[in-house]
Subunit: 253 residues, 8 copies
C-alpha cells in the first residue's frame, strides 16, 4: 500500500492516524550512512523530491539523487547547487536541467498538473534576480504558472504600479527584496492575497547580510505578509505553491 493511499484514507477517515504512523514507520527509508533518504516525502509533501545541496559534497549529492532515481522518483529539485554538484549529477538522467543563476538543478521526468491560477514573483532590484529565479523555478517545478515582475522597487513607484494588473491577478505572491526590503509592505497593501516576503543579502554596510531587509519584512504594517529566511527563494516558492494548490484537484497528467 502506497503512502498516497494511506494519507488518502486518513483524510477520508478510513484509517486512524496512529495506524498510519505505524504503517509509515515500517516502510524503510534508505540509510546511506551520511543521509537518510526518505522515499515517501515526495508523495507526502509534493510532486517532486528536493535535495538541499549546500554543505553536501558532490559525491553525497550524487549518491542521494541516485538512490531517489533507483527508487522511482520522477521529479527531483536540487537547490543551492554549485557547479561541482551539477557535474556530479548531470549524467544521471537525460532530463537534467541546470539553472545556474538560480543555483538549481531540475530532473523533470514527468509533467506536473497545474492550477489555472498564477503565482507572481516580484523583485525590488536587478540584484535580487537569482533568489527570485530560485523561487520561480521551484514553483514551476511544483506545478504552477508563474508571472515575473522584476526591478520594481518602491523608489520608482510608477514602475511597480505599471504591473498592478499582474500583481492583482495572482493567487499568491513572492516578493523578493534586499537593501531596505520595503517592497512587500507596498505590494501587501495593493493585493488581498498572501504575500511571501523573501529578504535578500543584497546590499552593504548597515544591511548586515540581509538582516535589514529581514527586520523590515517582519515588522511590516501591511496584513497578509509572512517571511522566510534571507535568500530562501526555494522556501518561498514552495509555500506559494502550497497556497496556489489549495483546493486544486489535479486530473491525470
Amino acid at each position: 500500500m502506497e503512502i498516497r493511499e494511506i494519507l488518502g484514507k486518513v483524510r477520508a477517515g478510513e484509517m486512524s492516524v496512529e495506524d498510519a504512523i505505524i504503517q509509515m514507520r515500517l516502510e524503510p527509508f534508505e540509510d546511506l550512512g551520511y543521509a537518510r533518504v526518505d522515499h515517501h516525502r515526495a508523495l507526502r509533501q509534493g510532486v517532486a523530491e528536493v535535495i538541499y545541496c549546500a554543505g553536501k559534497t558532490a559525491e553525497q549529492t550524487r549518491g542521494i539523487a541516485q538512490a531517489m532515481l533507483r527508487r522511482g522518483a520522477e521529479n527531483i529539485l536540487l537547490t543551492r547547487v554549485r557547479p561541482e554538484h551539477y557535474a556530479a549529477v548531470r549524467d544521471l538522467d537525460e532530463a537534467v536541467e541546470y539553472h545556474e543563476a538560480a543555483r538549481i538543478v531540475v530532473v523533470r521526468r514527468r509533467p506536473v498538473a497545474m492550477p489555472e491560477t498564477h503565482i507572481c514573483v516580484v523583485t525590488a532590484g536587478t540584484s535580487d534576480l537569482p533568489v527570485a529565479e530560485e523561487a520561480a523555478i521551484t514553483a514551476e517545478v511544483l506545478g504552477n504558472r508563474v508571472d515575473r515582475v522584476y526591478d520594481a522597487g518602491v523608489a520608482g513607484l510608477h514602475r511597480l504600479l505599471a504591473s498592478a494588473e499582474t500583481l492583482m491577478r495572482a493567487n499568491a505572491l513572492v516578493v523578493v527584496a534586499g537593501m531596505e526590503g520595503a517592497l512587500p509592505s507596498v505590494v501587501g497593501g495593493l493585493v488581498d492575497r498572501p504575500v511571501i516576503a523573501v529578504p535578500t543579502s543584497v546590499g552593504y554596510g548597515a544591511n548586515f547580510g540581509g538582516l535589514s531587509a529581514l527586520l523590515t519584512m517582519l515588522n511590516s504594517c501591511a496584513s497578509g505578509i509572512s517571511v522566510v529566511n534571507i535568500d530562501n527563494g526555494f522556501g518561498a516558492g514552495y509555500i506559494a505553491s502550497q497556497i496556489n494548490h489549495t483546493g486544486f484537484v489535479p486530473g491525470n497528467v
Copy 2:
C-alpha cells in the same frame, strides 16, 4: 460604485487597474488629523476592519471606531487592546466583546460566511496562550473554523502526536512557540499544508525577547513554514484565513 464592485471588475478584466486606482483615490478616506480612516479597506482586504491599538490613546481609538461605525462598518477587530481602550469603546455598540487574554475587542454585528475546512492553532506551552488566542479569535472573526491544540511542545512528543489527526486535517496551521521555538519544524514535517510560525517573547535569558524563537523558525529545515513578527498572533490568524479562504465562494449570509 463600491470598491467591491471595482475590484470585481478589475478581476473580470472589465476595468483597467489604472481606472480603478483613480476611482479609489477619488473616494475620500476620512482624515481625523491623527488618523486617516480608510473606509474601503474592509471591503478590499477582508470581512472586518482592524484597529491596531498599541501606541494609540484611548481617545484616538474611540474616534477611529466611531468613524468606522458611522460609515457603516459591520465588524471591527481591535487588537493589542489595553483595558483603557476597551473602556473607551465598550459603549459604542452592544455587540462589543472583550477577550482580555488575547488583548482583543470584537464588534461583531454581522455573521460571516465560513469555509468547511479548518485552521489549526497549536502552542508549545501554556504561556503562549495569549498570542495563540489572538490568532484564533482573529481567524474566527474573519470567518474560519478553528481547532486549538495547546501545550504540545516538542519535549513531550507524545502529547503532540496525540493530536496528529487534528493537525493533519487542517487547511492551514498557526504554530505558536516561545523559548526555543522548535515546534513549527516538527509540525511542518507532519503536515503538507502551510504553517504560519509565530515566535513569542515567552522565555528568559538567551531568549532575548523572542529573538531565539524567531531565528529558529526562520531557519527551519522543514518546508512550508513562513514566519511573522514576535507575538504577532493577529498577523498569523489573518494569513491563515487568507489561505483557508482560497477558492472559497461564500453564499449570502
Copy 3:
C-alpha cells in the same frame, strides 16, 4: 562685538578664522558647575537656544533656562521635557508654552522671520505623532512654515498619494516611521528634495526598539535620504530648517 558680527566678517573675508576663534574663546560662557551655558550658540547656530532636558534634573533645567534668560536669550526650545521640567520653568517667563505630546516647552519672546517655502512632516502611523510633532514644532520655532501629513503609511498607498501635492511642494521633508520604516523610500522616490528620515521606536518584537526602522532607512534605495537617531524629531526638524533656510536672507522682524 557680537558673534553674529564676527561670523559675518569671517564669511566676508574681513576677519581670519583664527582671530575669530580666539575672539570667541575670550567671550565667557557661563559655568554653572553642572553645565557650561554657551550664550553664543543661539547666535552662531540658529534663532533659538536649545536645552535637551533628558538626564537633567528639574533644578538643573531651571538653572540653565534662567541663565539664558538673564543673558538676554529671546527664544528657547526645551526638548525631551517631562512634566517636572515644565513645572520648574513655567513661571520663568509668561511666554512659556508646553507641548505635552511632543515633550517640548517653548519660550517664544520674539517672532522669527520665515522663508516662503515649506517643510513637510509626514508620518506612517498615528503612533508616530509625538516624534513628528517634536520635529514640526522645532521647525516652526526655528522659523519655518510646516505642512503635516499624518498616518500615510505605505500599506495604504492611496492615502499617501492623496497628499502628493503637499509632498511635492516641500523644500525639505521630515518622514517619520516606526515598525518597518519603509515610508521614506517611497516618499524619496516621489520628490526631488532632501528627505530627513526619522525612525521611531513604535512597534514590538523584531522591531527591537526602533532598530528595524533605523536599518530600513539607512539602506534605502531611494536617493536623497539621510537618517537621524531613533525618535530624534528635534534633530530632523533642525536639519530641515537648515535646508529650508539655505539662501534665505531674513529682513528685520
Copy 4:
C-alpha cells in the same frame, strides 16, 4: 511633453498631481527583463542618471547604460564599479572616465551648471579616501564646486582647525570617518550648515564593519547632522548637492 515640463507645471499649480502621475505612467520605461530603465529619473531627480553596479553583472550594466545612451541620456554616473564593469562600458562613449579608487565611472557628455557655493568633503583618515572621493566626484558630476579636507581626524585637532576657513565657507558638508567616527560631531559644532555624516568600514575589531562609526554619528550631540549608510559616499554627495542647489536657478549651459 517632457517630465521637466510636467513637474514645472505641477509646481506652478498649472497641472494637478493626479494628471501628472497618469501622464508619467504613460510614458514608458524600458523593460530589459532584468531591469526597468527609467528614462525620466534623470529629469525628475537630477542632471545625471545613476547606475548602481554592485550585484549587477557586467553584461547587465552594459545593457542598462546602452539603453540610457540610446534614449539620449547626457550624463551617467556608474557607482560601485568593479574593473569588469568598466571594461564592459568603456567603449560605449568616448566621454567615459574611470575613477578607480572611488569605484566610479562617469559618462560626461554635457557640462552642468554649478552654484557659486561650495560643498566641503572632509575625512578623518587616509583610509577613508575612497569613500570620500565617491562623494566628491558624485557632487562634482551633479554640478557642484567641491573642497577636499582629508586626514583631519579629531585626535589631531590642530590639523582640523587649520582648515577651519574651508569648513566654514561650505554650504553643505560631507564628513567621512571610520573607526570611532567622531569627526562629524566636532565639525558639526564648528559650522552652522547641514553635515552629512558617512561612516566607513575602516577599522578592525569592535568596529564591526563600520557599526561603531555609524552608531557614533547617529548619537551625535551636535545639531545638524544626519547620516547615510556605511561607505555610502554616493548618497552623501547626492544629498549635499540637493542642499547646495537649494534655490539655485541655472542658466543655460
Copy 5:
C-alpha cells in the same frame, strides 16, 4: 611521585590539597617559548593529551607534539587540524591517523579501557557530519563505544523514531544540529540521560554563523540539555566521555 598518585591521595584524604598544589607547581611543565606544554594534564584530565591546532603554525604544532612524545605521552589528539598541520606531524610516529572530515589527527599508541555503556552521536543533517565525527572520534579516543545516528532531523520525525532504541540505550548523547537546531529538544524529551547539544554553523541567512542553533539549544524547554560552543565537536565528545566514565573503574589494558 606521579600526579596520578598525588590526586589519588587527595581523593583518599591522604594528602592535603595544599600540599598537592605545591607538589604540582614544583613539577616542571616545559616552556617552549610559544607554548607551555603541560605534561601532567593527560594524567590529570584524561587518557590522551590534546593539542588544539587552530591558530598555531605547523611548526608550533610539531614542536608541541614532539615535546609530548619525548616526555612519554602515549595517546595524543590533535583537533582543528589543517592539512599543513598533518603534514608537519605525520612522521613523528607510525601510529598517526588523519581524519580529514573531522579535522582530527590521532596518535594512538596504547589501547584505552572502555566502559560497556554507549555514547550516541546524533545529527540533524548530512552537513553536520564533520562536527559529529569530531565528537565521535574524540569520544572513541578517550575510551568509549560510540553509536552514530546521522541525518535524523526533526522535520522527518519517523527517521528519528526509527533509531529510538539506539537513543534510549545511550548513557550520554551528543546531538549535533545546525540551521534551527531543534533536534536536542526532541531527543531530550525521549531520553532520560544528559544530552550535550552542539550547534553548528551549517545554514545561511538568519542563521548568523550558528547563532540561531545556539540560541535554540540554550532555550530548550527539555530538561537535561547543556550546550557547547558552535561547531565544538571536541568539547561535546569530551564531556560525553566524562559522563560515560562516571563510576567506571578500568582494569589493566
Copy 6:
C-alpha cells in the same frame, strides 16, 4: 502496567521501543485546556515532577499541581515561583515548602534515595546566590548531597583555592557566575569532572543581561564545560543530578 515497568522492559530488551511508544501514547495525559499534564514524566525522567511557573497564572499553576497530586504525584518542584504562585498552592499539601530567594516551591511527600557522591555548587559572587540556590535545591530535591561554595570569584583566587578540596571531591559541579563569567574556566582547570556553567544576569552595562557571561562560558578554553541558559539554575541542578546518578541503583526508600 506502569511506565517505569515499560521502560525497564525496553532497557532489558524485553519490549520493542515501538510497542513502548504505542503503549505510552495510549495512557492518557490529562488535558486541562491550558495545559497537558503528563503524569508519566516524573516516572520517565526523574523522581519529582516539575512545574515551570513563569508565564503561568496562579490559577493555572494551582490547577496543574492539583491534577498531579490527584494522580498520585509524590514530589513536585515548582520553579520560577512568584509570591502569588506560592499563595495559590500553599494549602494543597502540608509538605509545601517555599524557598523565596531561589523562587522555588517544593512539595516533598516521599524521601528520595541519594548516591554517596556529591554535587558542588559554586558562585563567583554574592549576587549569584538566588540562581545557585535554585540549582542546589533542585539537586537536593532530585536526591543529591550538595556542597555550597559561594563568593569565590576569580579576582580573589585564594578564596577559591581555599575550597579546593570541596571542588575536587565533587562528582559534578555547577558553577554560577555573572559579570565576566570567568569562574567555570578556572574551576574546569582544577577538576576532572563535568562542570555545568550557569551564566547569570548579574552585572550592568556591557554585560547585556548576562550575554557577556554566557559568551565567556561558551568560549571556555577548559575542557569539560557545558553551558545552560542565563539564570537557569534549575537546568544546571537537573543535569548535575543526572550525572551524579550515573550508575546509581537506589534501594527502596
Copy 7:
C-alpha cells in the same frame, strides 16, 4: 606578619612568591555564608576596602561592612548604593558620608596620603555627572587631588579648549561621555598622559544603553585611551589612582 610586609618582602626579593601565597592562604578570610570577606584586600590593593552593593541586600551589605569594621578596616568605599543600603549602614560609624548622585557611601576614618599630581575628570554633558562623581570621589577616597571639568562636549569645542590647562596638567584623566562618546578621542589628542574612557548609558535610540559610546571609545584613533565598562565610574577612578600613585611613596599620615 602583615600582608603589607609580606608583599614588601616579595618585592624586595626577601621572600619567594610561593611562600607568600601559602602565607596568604593561611590567613583566614571571613566566610559569612553569602560572602567571603577578604580582610587583606585593602592592604594588598589599596588604602580602602570596597563593597560593590548592586545585587546585594541591605542586610548583606551591612553584614559585610560590619565584618570589615570589626576587623579594623579604616576606610571603606561602598559603590552602587541604593537608599536602603545607606539606611542599613549609616549608624555603623560616625564617619559615614552619603554621596547620593554618585551612589557612593564613604566611611573615612583615616586621612590618606596624596601625591602632588592631579587626576582630571571630564564629562561631555550634564547627564554624565553621576558617573563622573563616582570616579572623582573614588579617586579622592583613594588619595588623589581631583580636578573636575564638566559639560565640555566636542560639539562646543571652545568650552573644552577653555579648560586646556587643567587637562594638560593632569597626571591621569578620566573622560566620561554618553551619546556618541567622542570626547576621549579629542582629549586624547590634546594630552600625553593615559586617558581612562568611561562610556555612559546616557542617550536614547541607537545608543543602545551605552553601546554606542562604548564602541566609539574602543575604536578611538587617539593613542593612550583605554576603556572600562559602561557607567563604571568606580573602575576608572581606581585605575586613574593607580596611575597617579605610580612611584609615589607616601610618608606617615
Copy 8:
C-alpha cells in the same frame, strides 16, 4: 622654538595654553594630499612617530615615512604592516627591522632612555602571540624593559602561578587573551598595578571575532583593568609605556 620647549613652558606656567595652541597651529604640518603628516606628534606624545598602515597603500605608507625622515624623525614605528608595506619602506633607511608575526616595522635610529621598572606582557594561549608581540615590541620601541609570559591561560592555573614573581614585579601589565578572555581578571586579582586587557579575535563560533573576550574583559570583577580594542596590541603597549614612564625623567641618551 620647538614643541618640546613650548610644552615645557606650559607645564612650567611660563606660557599660556592659548598661546601654545596658536603657536602650534602656526607650525606647519605637511599635507601630502592623502595624509597630513604631523611632525610634532612624536615630540608631543612620545619618542617615536607611528604610522598605522592598515587601509593605506604601500605608496602612501612610503610617502609618509619619507616625509617623516626628511623632517628628521629619529624613530618610526609602522603597525599593521603587510609585506607590501615592508617592501615599500625597507630601503628608506638601514635601520629598518621587520617583525613579521607582530606585523610591525621599526626604524630605530636613536637609542631610547628606559626606566628601570618592567612591563609584563602575558598571553592566554599560543595563538595570541602576534598581538602580544605587537604590544611588546611597541613598548620596547617606546623605551621599556619587557617581560613575556606566554601561554599561561586560566585553565592551567599552575602555569600562570609559576610566573607569579614576574607578574608581581611589573609596573604595568598587558594581558592578551582570546576565546573566553578570562585571564585579565585572574591576573588583576594577583597584582596591584594597572592591567591593560587586550581581547583577541582568536577563537571560533560564539567568539564572534573577539566580541566574547572583549565583553569578558569589560565586565571584569577585578579592579584595575581597562580594555583596548580587539587585537589592539599597539594601543596596549603604548598605554603601558605611558604608565611605566610616569615620573620617569630620562637623562641624555
